[in-house]
Amino acid sequence: MDIFSGLLNGFSIALTPMNVLFAFIGAVLGTAIGVLPGLGPAATIALLLPATYAIESPVTAIILMAGIFYGSMYGGSTTSILLNLPGEAASVVTCIDGYKMAQQGRAGAALGIAAIGSFVAGTVGVIGMTFFAPVIATFALSFGPPEKFSLAVVGLLLAVTLSGASIVKGLIMMATGLLLADVGLDPISGKTRFAFGVTELNSGFDFVTLAMGVFGLGEIFYGLEQTMKGELVTTKVGQVWPTMKDWVASRWAILRGTLVGFFIGVIPGGGAVISSLVSYAVEKRVAKDPSQFGHGAIQGVAGPESANNAASSSSFIPLLTLGIPGNASIAMIFAALLIKGVTPGPFLIQEHPEIFWGVIASMYIGNVMLLVLNLPLVGLWAQLVRVPFAIMAPVIILFTAIGSYSIQGQVFDIYSLVGFGLFGYALRKLKIEAGPLVLAFVLGPMVEAAMRQSLLMSGGDFTVFVTRPISATLIALFVTLALGQAGVALWKSRRATASSNSNRP
C-alpha cells in the first residue's frame, strides 16, 4: 500500500504542467543528442547543469536530466541502424543486424521495433524499480572486483561470438581491441603505457572516436569505393512499419532483453554494454534459425535495444537507494542533486519522497512521450536512406569530426578518428566484423582492473575467482559456453572436411 500511495503522490508531482514540460524537453533533447553522433548524454547533462540552478525545485531538475539520459537511449539506435554509427557502447551490437536490415530496405522495421522495444523495456524497468529497488540495490553491491572480472570475461567471450562465422577472426579482433585499450594510464600502477610521448595519448584513445571511425567512417570509405564503381548502396525505403510477422518474431526477444537489461544494468560500470551483448547472445541461441543473425535478424535489434533501455532505468536504482552513481550520466545527476542540497541514498525515500516518487512517476510519463515522439519520426528517419550518398557522406564525416572533437576539445581526436576510419575500411575489405574489437576495447580495462584488484585483495591467490559464489557461477558459465562453442566449431569443421572429402571425385 505504501508503494501505491507513494507512486500516486509521485504522479501528482510529475503531472504538474511544469514537470510535464520539463520531462518533454528532456525527452526531445535526449532523442536529439542520441541521434547526433559523438554527443553523449553525460556531456549534455554537464553542459546543462548551470541551467538547472535556475530551476527552483530539485524534482524538476532531475526530471529534465533523467529525460535526457533515457531519451538518448531511444535516439542511440537510430544512427546505428541507418548509418552503422554507434553513438555509445551499448548500441554497438545494434549495428550488426540493424544496419543489415537498413541495407535490405527494412530500416523502418528496425527503427520501429527498436522504439517499441525501448518503450516496453523502459516501462517494465520502471515498474521493476518501483517494487524491487532495495533488493536490486543489494544485488548490485555484491559485485566486487572478482565478480566484475568474471562478468567481463563472459562479456568478452560473447563479444567474440559476434564475429559471425569465423571464431579466429573474432579472436584476432578481440586481441586488437584489448591492445588498443592498453594505451594510456595503467589503472593500477598509474604509469603511462604506449603513449610514446604524445600527451593526448596519456589518457588513451576515446571510445566514441574509435567506434565512429571503425564503424561509421569505415563504412563511408567503403561506400565511396562502391559508388565510384557505379553501384548504389541502397535507395530502397521499403516498408516503413514493422509487419505483423516482425512483431511475432520480436515479442519474446523484447521481453527477454528487458529482463536481462534490468538485472545486469544495475551493476555499476559496464552494465548496459554487457546486457546488450548477453541479450544478443541469448537471442542467437534460442532462435530457430541462428544463421539469420548477422544478416538482418530483427530479434538481433529488438533484444539488445530493449536490454540497453531496461538497463538505463535500472541504473537509477543504485543512485536513488544507495547514493552510488553507476555511470557518467548518473554521476552528473548525482552532482546536480548534491548541489541542490539533496543527498541521494537510503534516506532519500524518507527525507525527500517527492523526489524519489516524482522521478519514478516522470519516467513512466517520459517513456510514453518518447514512444509518441519517436514512432512518427521512424517514417522520417527511414527516408534518410534516400539521400544521395554524395550528400550524406560529407555530412556524416563533418558530424563525426565535430563529435569527436567535442568530447575532449582535442584536434588529435580528429586525426585518430580518420586513422580508425581507414582501419575500419581495411576490416570491411577483409570481411572482418569490427564488433568484437570495439567491445573488447570497452571490456578490456574492466577485465584488467578487476583482475588485478582481486589478486591484490587475495594476496595473489587465483582461487578468489572460484571460491566466491557469484564469481564461480559466472566462471562455470564461461567454461560451458567456451567448450560448447569449441565443440560446435569442431563438429562443423569435421562435417565440412567430411563433405569436401566426399565431394572429391
Binding site: 553525460a42 554537464a46 547543469l49 548551470p50 540552478y53 553491491l141 555484491s142 559485485f143 566486487g144 572486483p145 594510456g184 594510464l185 589503472p187 593500477i188 600502477s189 598509474g190 604509469k191 603511462t192 600527451t199 593526448e200 596519456n202 589518457s203 588513451g204 555499476p268 560500470g269 544507495l322 547514493g323 552510488i324 552513481p325 557518467a328 554521476a331 552528473m332 548525482f334 552532482a335 548534491l338 548541489i339 542540497g341 543527498t343 541514498g345 537510503p346 534516506f347 575532449q408 576539445g409 582492473a449 584488484q453 591484490l456 585483495m457 594476496g459
Partner: protein, 323 residues
C-alpha cells in the same frame, strides 16, 4: 617632432590606462574554468558550487569545462598553455598531480612555475573508514585485529599514488602493519567496493564518505591531517591515536597561467574571497561536506610549495616509485 612626442605619450598613456582598465573592467566576457577531472567528482562539485555563486559577484558568468584524463595532467596542461589573460582558469589546483606527481614522474610543465596560485578554497582531507559491521572501532582496535589475524589489511583507495593511497601507505609503514592498497578508478568506485564489504578498510575524502557514514554503512576510524577536519569534528587524527603520520590530503584551489597580470589575479582572488564569505555558499559547501579553508594568492602559493615539499619528503621516506 612635438607631435610625435605627444602622440607617443598618448599611446603610452592609453597603454598604461588599458592595463589598469583591464583589471578594473575584468571580466568583459565569460570566464572559462577548466576542471581536469571527471564531471560529478568532488573537485567538479566544488567547481560547480563556485560557479553558481560566481554570477552573484562578477559581471560575467563562469563556464565550467571538464577535461579529464592523464590523472589531471591533460586539462591542467591546457590551462598552462592558454592565453594568460585571466579568462582561462584552473579549478582543483593543489590536487595529486600538482603536489604529488612532480616528485614521482616527469611532468610536461612545472605546476609551481607555470601556474600562478589565485586562491585556496578547500582541503579534502583523507579519512580512514571501515564497514560499519567491522569488529574494530578505532585505529588501536584495527591494529590489534590485524596482529591477531596475521593477514594483510586490504584497503580501497581512489587511485595509485594519489593523496589517499600515500596517506594509507604511510599509515601502514608508521604503524608497522601490512597495508595492501587496492586502487580503483576514482573515489566513487572505491567507496562502492568498500560498501559491498569486499575490503577491510578504505580511504576517502569526507565528501565521498560522509553520506555512507550517515547511512550507517561506514564508520570513520581516523583523519590523516595535522589537525582535525572541520567537516568531521568528532573524529580524532592519526596523531591523536598514536600513529605519527599526517598529510595535506588533496588541496583544492584556483590557479591561472603564470603570465596572467597581477591585477587580474587579485581581482579574481577578491571575487573568490567574496564567494567564500557568502553564507549561502557556505551552506552549499557544508552540504557537500567540503570545509571552506580560504587563502589568498600569496599565502596559497607558499602553501602549495610547502605541501609539495612535505609530499616529496614522505615519498622519499616511503620509498615509493612509479616506473
Amino acid at each position: 617632432m612635438k607631435r610625435l612626442a605627444a602622440s607617443l605619450t598618448a599611446i603610452l598613456a592609453v597603454a598604461a590606462f588599458s592595463a589598469t582598465a583591464m583589471a578594473a573592467d575584468f571580466p568583459t566576457k565569460p570566464v572559462q574554468a577548466v576542471v581536469p577531472m571527471a564531471a560529478g567528482g568532488s573537485t567538479d562539485l566544488l567547481a560547480r558550487a563556485v560557479e553558481k555563486y560566481w554570477a552573484k559577484y562578477s559581471k560575467q558568468p563562469m563556464v565550467i569545462v571538464n577535461k579529464p584524463g592523464g590523472g589531471g595532467v591533460v586539462g591542467t596542461e591546457g590551462v598552462v598553455r592558454a592565453k594568460p589573460d585571466g579568462y582561462t582558469l584552473y579549478i582543483g589546483y593543489g590536487s595529486g598531480h600538482d603536489v604529488v606527481m612532480p616528485t614521482l614522474q616527469k611532468m610536461p610543465y612545472d605546476p609551481q612555475k607555470d601556474l600562478v596560485a589565485v586562491s585556496r578554497v578547500s582541503i579534502h582531507s583523507v579519512a580512514i573508514v571501515a564497514s560499519a559491521k567491522a569488529p574494530y572501532n578505532d585505529i588501536k582496535e584495527l591494529l590489534a585485529f590485524a596482529k591477531k589475524e596475521g593477514k594483510p589489511i586490504t584497503t580501497a583507495v581512489s587511485v595509485k599514488a594519489g593523496a589517499v593511497d600515500l596517506a594509507l601507505t604511510a599509515f601502514g609503514k608508521a604503524a608497522g602493519v601490512n597495508i595492501v592498497t587496492v586502487p580503483f578508478s576514482g573515489g566513487a568506485e572505491a567507496t562502492t567496493a568498500l560498501a559491498g564489504g569486499h575490503l577491510m578498510i578504505g580511504g576517502g575524502h569526507p565528501s565521498e564518505i560522509i553520506p555512507h557514514v550517515k547511512a550507517g554503512r561506514f564508520k570513520v576510524l581516523a583523519v590523516v591531517l595535522p589537525e582535525r577536519d572541520p567537516s568531521l569534528p568528532n573524529v580524532p587524527t592519526l596523531k591523536e591515536q598514536g600513529v605519527n603520520v599526517a598529510t595535506w590530503g588533496s588541496i583544492k584551489g584556483l590557479a591561472a597561467p603564470a603570465a596572467t597580470p597581477k591585477e587580474v589575479v587579485k581581482e579574481i582572488d577578491a571575487t573568490i574571497k567574496k564567494i567564500c564569505d557568502d553564507p549561502e555558499f557556505r551552506k552549499t559547501m557544508a552540504d557537500l561536506n567540503q570545509p571552506i579553508l580560504y587563502q589568498n594568492s600569496e599565502d596559497f602559493a607558499k602553501f602549495i610549495k610547502q605541501a609539495t615539499a612535505d609530499y616529496a619528503a614522505l615519498i622519499k621516506e616511503l620509498n615509493i616509485k612509479i616506473d
